[in-house]
């Protein structure tokens, strides 16, 4: 068996059917004008020519899941007393994420460190992660707003994927990344891909050159602390933010969540659901005190989490995969890459500091002399 496989385009449905024999296959499907990861079936329209509107994160980390169910019962010995029964069920089928993009797959690596590689691993995430095979499609061209190469990724970056596919004219070159992914090469419809490997590498390299790097020439952005901690900066750059959760919910690396009890009569579930640091309620305490009451502080925390706090904890890894969704789908197109770029630019910092001294509003990209 060769190390590289090849999937002719006309056999893609057969391939998916074969995968679906012992797993639920989530693939990017066209729905109206948008692309979503859906359990693939014959009636759905596969769409691989652009990244899905939402990343496949919900497959492994669902937007809402039951942590456990509880039920109050009358104690048999004393009917005045109620006892409680808890039931946690972490049953997960085998799953395949087909057609994720390298940025999407890299997102799962960001989660792994938090959910699995800790002394209190999350059994729900871990089980799903272990049961899921991630088949990634490398990007042939950048998408609006994306910048993976600037945050340690790339259009054929393999981190997080089990299998990497690269599209050629007639089919897909298939490179296994993990042991789990190697099994793919054994599927019926997969042919030997060795003759196509060079072409695939060429496509990958070409795409890499086309992705913009807003932080160039830096390898990874280095953030100026003084500017980061300057309130006026945030007031200027995120004044337009409407404080919704679109950026976080569409982000392949955002993982903050809420835990709530949702009750029926005498029973109910403890539910874990996505939450967003952009919401006022996120940090609101029962006393009414809110440590991050303004959208500026909340946005600062979002940028901080991705570009400072997470890297501090995890050996410099930036918790942003550069997919560009938060830029494309933001109601007012707040551009996180632009903001980080300001934050790293020492020249700008001088300028911000000077406007701070004068007591005037700082300005972004003004031509005014310092």
């Amino acid at each position: 068996m060769s190390d590289t496989g090849y999937l002719p385009k006309e056999k893609i449905k057969d391939f998916l059917k074969e995968l679906a024999k012992d797993a639920v296959v989530y693939a990017p499907c066209l729905e109206g004008d948008i692309v979503l990861f859906r359990p693939f079936s014959e009636e759905r329209t596969l769409c691989l020519d652009r990244p899905a509107n939402t990343p496949p994160k919900s497959v492994i980390y669902p937007q809402s899941e039951t942590l456990f169910a509880f039920q109050y019962k009358k104690a048999p010995e004393d009917h005045q007393k109620m006892s409680v029964e808890l039931k946690a069920d972490i049953g997960v089928p085998n799953m395949v994420i087909f057609g994720a993009r390298p940025c999407d797959a890299k997102g799962f690596r960001i989660y792994d460190r938090v959910f699995i590689e800790t002394n209190t691993p999350d059994p729900y995430y871990r089980k799903r992660r272990e049961n899921t095979l991630i088949v990634t499609l490398s990007c042939a061209a950048p998408s609006p707003g994306c910048f993976c190469v600037a945050v340690g990724g790339g259009p054929a970056h393999k981190e997080g994927s089990d299998v990497m596919m690269t599209e050629l004219e007639g089919g897909y070159v298939i490179e296994p990344v993990t042991e789990k992914g190697r099994a793919i090469l054994g599927k019926h419809v997969i042919e030997d891909g060795k003759p196509y490997l060079k072409d695939a590498q060429h496509v990958q390299a070409k795409a890499h050159d086309e992705v913009r790097n807003p932080f160039a020439p830096d390898e990874l952005p280095k953030i100026s602390q003084s500017l980061f901690n300057f309130d006026g900066f945030w007031e200027q750059v995120v004044g337009k933010c409407v404080s919704c959760g679109a950026c976080t919910y569409l982000c392949p690396t955002c993982y903050c969540f809420n835990i709530t009890d949702e009750q029926g009569i005498g029973s109910g579930e403890r539910v874990r659901s996505w939450d967003a640091c952009m919401f006022f309620h996120f940090t609101l305490e029962a006393s009414g005190h809110n440590p991050r009451p303004t959208k500026f502080q909340r946005f600062k925390n979002r940028v901080g989490h991705k570009f400072i706090y997470y890297p501090e904890k995890y050996e410099g890894v930036i918790a942003c995969c550069g997919c560009g969704r938060c830029i494309r789908y933001c109601p007012v197109n707040v551009d996180i890459s632009e903001i980080v770029n300001y934050l790293k630019d020492t020249h700008q910092e001088l300028h911000w500091a000077s406007s701070r001294k004068e007591g005037t509003q700082p300005t972004v990209g003004s031509t005014k002399d310092e």
Binding site: L67, C256, K313
Partner: protein, 278 residues
């Protein structure tokens, strides 16, 4: 796979006793339903637990009984939101869930052989209580123990029985204060930070541990700085909205530190390294 512990699944426990501390604070004595767990359960002074009322939710409270007294765990709850209101409706025999212990604890090892200054306000005495009792149970390890504690009015003082006990002990210097004159109150009046200035404890070989409302903490920290306490010798314990309790869910962070996991106990030296989001 199945034998890894599910960090979200609480242990079931029963309310043993409810004590009305103040008009809006109650203390709960709670024991795990599993007697084996009750025997093997270990925690350190200052660690917190997530207390569940199933159907309403979870909230974080410090375990304010000391690890030296393990007949039950004590939580003190001030009625503020949805969960605390539900806890206030609990009676002895009612079922709750506990996820504990969580977070870090007071560095009591480093405090051995030193003078200890506690400064508390209102419900803020709860996290101090666990350490005070722990130190009293290991009294020989510590030098002078001074406690400055205040509340709005005398009825708002927590742990009244213990306050009385401490007052009578010769090896504890307890200084009580309430904000204003109050019928029948013949001790000090004035805010805690003001009283701190009046008492003016010496910083030599002394660790100050403070907890209370944010505004009190703010002025106590200033006061301690004026008294020349070193940042490393000033310790406080923070409160935040918490959900997971294991440093994942993202709401209790101050910069890269998660109050639920890296805290709740921080020295002023550590706090100064963190963004101002307390």
């Amino acid at each position: 796979m199945s034998n890894i512990k599910n960090p979200y699944l609480p242990e079931l426990a029963t309310v043993l006793r409810v004590i009305e501390e103040t008009p809006n604070i109650k203390s709960y004595h709670v024991v795990f339903n599993d007697p084996e767990l009750m025997k093997s359960f270990r925690f350190e002074p200052g660690q917190v637990g997530q207390l569940s009322v199933f159907g309403v939710g979870e909230s974080t409270f410090v375990i304010n009984s000391p690890p030296t007294r393990m007949e039950y765990l004590q939580f003190s709850v001030m009625k503020a939101g949805e969960v605390t209101a539900a806890i206030h409706n609990l009676y002895p025999g009612d079922q709750v869930g506990i996820r504990a212990p969580l977070g870090n604890w007071f560095p009591y090892e480093q405090m051995k052989g030193r003078n200890i200054l506690f400064i508390g306000g209102g419900i803020g005495l709860a996290p101090l209580r666990t350490l005070i009792l722990f130190m009293l149970d290991n009294r020989a390890d510590y030098k002078d123990i001074t406690i400055i504690y205040g509340s709005r009015t005398p009825p708002d003082l927590c742990y009244k029985d213990e306050l009385k006990e401490w007052e009578e002990r010769s090896d504890v210097n307890l200084i009580l204060t309430v904000d204003n004159e109050y019928p029948g109150w013949n001790k000090r009046t004035g805010f805690v930070p003001t009283v701190l200035k009046e008492v003016a404890p010496a910083p030599d070989n002394t660790v100050a541990i403070t907890c209370g409302p944010p505004i009190m903490i703010k002025f106590v920290l200033e006061g301690l700085a004026q008294l020349k306490f070193k940042d490393e010798d000033i310790i406080t314990t923070l409160e935040k909205r918490m959900k997971c309790g294991i440093g994942i869910c993202g709401r209790c962070n101050i910069g890269s530190k998660y109050v639920c996991k890296d805290g709740p106990v921080f020295s002023l030296a550590q706090l100064k390294e963190m963004p101002d989001e307390v």
